[in-house]
């Protein structure tokens, strides 16, 4: 049915000014070759890394080898076209959504101008509809009758090296953020199309080091940085000293790999390691100590982030499986997860079917408020923002909001928790309760319509910094607005990748705006039992009006 349009499609979609985009390209998009040059591509995966991954999941990552992206010889196996087509055939059978997404797009163009990469570059192949078309044309050319017979007239084309290059270019200029899908009348999720394309690329050994090395590390040591258990523990414990210095309280409840704890707490590993995630981590620990939660952290499942989800289903499943395995080994009742991004996409969308149901776990119930998290009944995993919001709702946290008065805060909805799992209210509820100055960015840049940080899905690597800055432009542009209007100086979020990438983004576009996790702000505001007069925040920065505030001794149990 849609095929009447197919004929014109390859030009119309970007040429027809009646399209929402009004774009007028110089040439038919199929004839515009890609050129790799430094700054517009990610470095390919090292041979040793692919060898390692190939041992666990043979065949899924292609033949281990050294290759250069700018070269015209990627050292592909002779039958690479066959491998791709066979891979596509299998996936069309296995994933119904993939087949449907290949068939039902009517090129209405509603998604075309919704991608941050298009908005930051003006490159038509960054329009979601065309991005998908890069793959769809191969589908048509090889798997539909019209396409096989009529070729490009029916919008089909054969799989060539030029197409492969295009895929590597543009499926690594998609952060799988799903913004486009919000606007698609058919619910086509280009993010899932990108996932499929990346799976196919990996099959012929075309992958990036920034994704595969963290994935290999996560598989080997449990976290993407490759930190070994003692290092992980040591680093986390260093932060206890900092907490003591700021609050005067020595926390007692942090344990590792403790069997019989009620709750297993899984975090993105950057939170024990990199600035500003470490302040978020300090916030988590303060919350748990404040309410006396019986929790433990595993040094083996020490990474929430699932770098496998940027490669293929199998590796995603394998890395995700560690959480349930550790929960079982430690005998906990349920799992609590920190402020992470793609961990939540995987948990929310795939975990239960992939590795569940976890028979040893119980439906999560807050031991402090008694709230049963029915929404987590299947996966048995609760988000820290749900947990904290519930504590606040039941008045279980003693809070001094004014301790965040030196922060004028706005909130970035990270794609995965917001669009991926629908968590929109909890973080806002927390912010409203722990700080006095909270301002939203414009409506069409937040919540379901949030703009991506521009560096998700393994694109947060240094060699493509230019590209990251372009992709993050729409987000930065909205931050700039609230900075000018309300004096915003802190961009908060609930994603570890965002805490890293937004920092770079702000350094470039809005250098006066910092980046933090929500739990850091909670940690600042919490009135801890036995604390000293707080004149610094968790970053050792002076509080507003430090030294003249009232005594924080509203503490019931205090002497």
């Amino acid at each position: 049915m849609a095929d009447t349009k197919v004929e014109q499609m390859s030009v119309d979609v970007v040429r027809d000014p009646s399209m929402m985009t009004g774009a007028i390209p110089r040439k038919d998009w199929m004839d515009m070759p890609v050129t790799f040059k430094p700054g517009n591509y990610c470095y390919p995966a090292k041979k040793s890394i692919v060898e390692y991954l190939d041992k666990g999941l043979p065949g899924l990552f292609g033949v281990p080898r050294e290759w250069q992206v700018e070269s015209d010889d990627w050292q592909l196996p002779e039958n690479w076209v066959e491998i791709i087509l066979q891979g596509m055939r299998e996936r069309l059978d296995k994933f119904r959504s993939f087949k449907v997404f290949m068939d039902i797009c009517v090129r209405c163009g509603a998604c075309a101008d919704k991608c941050h990469f298009f908005l930051g570059t003006g490159d038509p192949k960054n329009m979601p509809v065309l991005r998908a078309e890069l793959l769809r044309s191969i589908y048509r050319g090889n798997f539909t009758k019209a396409g096989r017979i009529l070729g490009s007239i029916a919008g089909g084309r054969p799989m060539t090296f030029e197409v492969l290059k295009e895929w590597f270019m543009y499926f690594y200029q998609c952060t799988e953020c799903r913004r486009c899908s919000v606007f698609c009348p058919y619910g086509i999720d280009t993010a899932e199309i990108t996932m499929m394309a990346r799976e196919l690329l990996h099959l012929v050994g075309v992958g990036t080091n920034w994704i595969l090395e963290p994935a290999a590390n996560s598989n080997r040591t449990g976290n993407h940085l490759g930190l070994q258990p003692h290092t992980f523990k040591q680093n986390a414990e260093f932060l206890l000293d900092d907490i003591e210095e700021v609050t005067g309280v020595k926390l007692q409840n942090l344990t590792f790999n403790r069997k019989g704890a009620e709750v297993l707490f899984v975090i993105p590993s950057a939170d024990v390691f990199a600035d500003p995630g470490i302040f978020t981590f300090m916030g988590y620990l303060l919350i748990f100590e404040h309410v006396g939660l019986d929790y433990t952290i595993s040094t083996y499942s020490s990474e929430g982030g699932n770098f496998g989800s940027f490669t293929n289903n199998e590796l995603m499943k394998k890395l995700n499986g560690k959480m349930y395995a550790e929960a079982k080994r430690l005998g906990v009742k349920w799992i609590l997860g920190g402020e992470c991004g793609h961990m939540w996409r995987v948990v929310h969308q795939y975990m239960e079917t992939m590795n569940g149901p976890p028979d040893n776990l119980e439906v999560p119930k807050s031991p402090i408020t008694g709230t049963v998290f029915e929404n987590a009944a299947a996966a048995k995993m609760v988000h820290i923002s749900e947990f904290t919001a519930d504590l606040i709702k039941h008045d279980k946290l003693k809070i001094d909001k004014s301790r965040n008065d030196h922060r004028v805060v706005t909130f970035h909805d990270s794609c995965n928790p917001s669009r991926g799992m629908g968590m929109l209210e909890e973080p806002r509820y927390i912010l409203q309760n722990v700080c006095n100055k909270f301002y939203e960015m414009p409506e069409n840049t937040i919540r379901e319509q949030t703009f991506c940080c521009g560096s998700g899905t393994g694109l947060n690597t240094g060699e493509i910094m230019d590209l990251r800055m372009r992709g993050g432009l729409p987000r930065a542009n909205a931050v700039k607005h609230v900075e000018e209007k309300h004096g915003v100086n802190m961009l908060s979020c609930i994603c570890a990748i965002d805490r890293a990438t937004l920092l770079a983004l702000m350094e470039y576009w809005n250098p006066n705006v910092g980046v933090c996790g929500i739990s850091e702000l909670v940690g600042n505001a919490l009135i801890m039992e036995g604390e000293k007069v707080r004149d610094q925040d968790l970053r050792f920065e002076e509080l507003a009006g430090a030294g003249q505030g009232e005594e924080p001794g509203t503490n019931e149990e205090g002497e």
Binding site: V14, P17, M20, T21, G22, A23, I24, P25, R26, N40, A112, D113, L119, G120, T121, G122, D123, P124, N209, E213, P214, N217, H224, L225, G226, L227, Q228, H230, T231, Q234, N235, A270, F273, A274, D275, P442, N444, T445, N460, T461, G462, M465, D466, M469, R470, L473, P474, N477, A478, H481, A500, L503, A504, E507, Y508, W509
Partner: protein
């Protein structure tokens, strides 16, 4: 008509041409020209606002220092987009051509000719500022890359920031120091 009056009476048309010319340097400019919501269209909004501000500064003979802010907003964007350095800053010069054309099209172009030299001299200074700003943006970008590596946010492959690698190295260094202390 003298140039000042020309610039002011034809402001709308000249600005429109200038903005369109700059947006035409992008591969699919139609959307950038059409979409008026500044948050849905940051490139379009930044360029049209920036150019308007620059134009006003030139028209009203204001101090050229004031041009830095609007210039920066545009250059910052173009410095990370897929342009050569010359193309990234060339938009300043595009105004020259447009204004000359407008002036030449006047019946009595004598009047504006004198003003044109002064106007173009000022525009050249703006162009030089643009070069400096471009370089600053590129340098900032490189600094960010370095900062990212140093901060540990990107620490994973080289071991420079890996805590265990660092501990081992520190221990080795300490041992070395002890060794050399003993030797001296």
């Amino acid at each position: 008509m003298d140039l000042q009056s020309l610039l002011s009476s034809k402001k709308k048309a000249i600005l429109q041409k200038w903005t369109d010319a700059v947006l035409d340097t992008y591969e699919s400019p139609g959307f950038f020209k059409k979409q008026k919501d500044r948050f849905a269209n940051p490139i379009g909004a930044t360029i049209s606002d920036g150019l308007q501000e620059l134009y006003d500064i030139l028209l009203e003979n204001r101090e050229l220092d004031e041009a830095a802010a609007p210039l920066e907003s545009i250059i910052k964007m173009r410095a990370v987009q897929d342009f050569t350095p010359s193309r990234a800053v060339s938009f300043v010069y595009q105004l020259k051509g447009i204004v000359r054309q407008e002036a030449a099209g006047e019946k009595n172009s004598e009047g504006s000719r004198a003003g044109l030299a002064v106007f173009e001299a000022r525009l050249d200074r703006v162009a030089l500022m643009a070069f400096d700003l471009y370089m600053e943006c590129r340098e900032r970008l490189h600094r960010i890359r370095v900062n990212e590596v140093l901060s540990g946010r990107s620490a994973l492959t080289d071991g420079t920031k890996c805590v265990s690698a660092r501990l081992k190295r520190e221990q080795a260094e300490a041992a070395d120091n002890n060794q050399s202390n003993r030797l001296t």
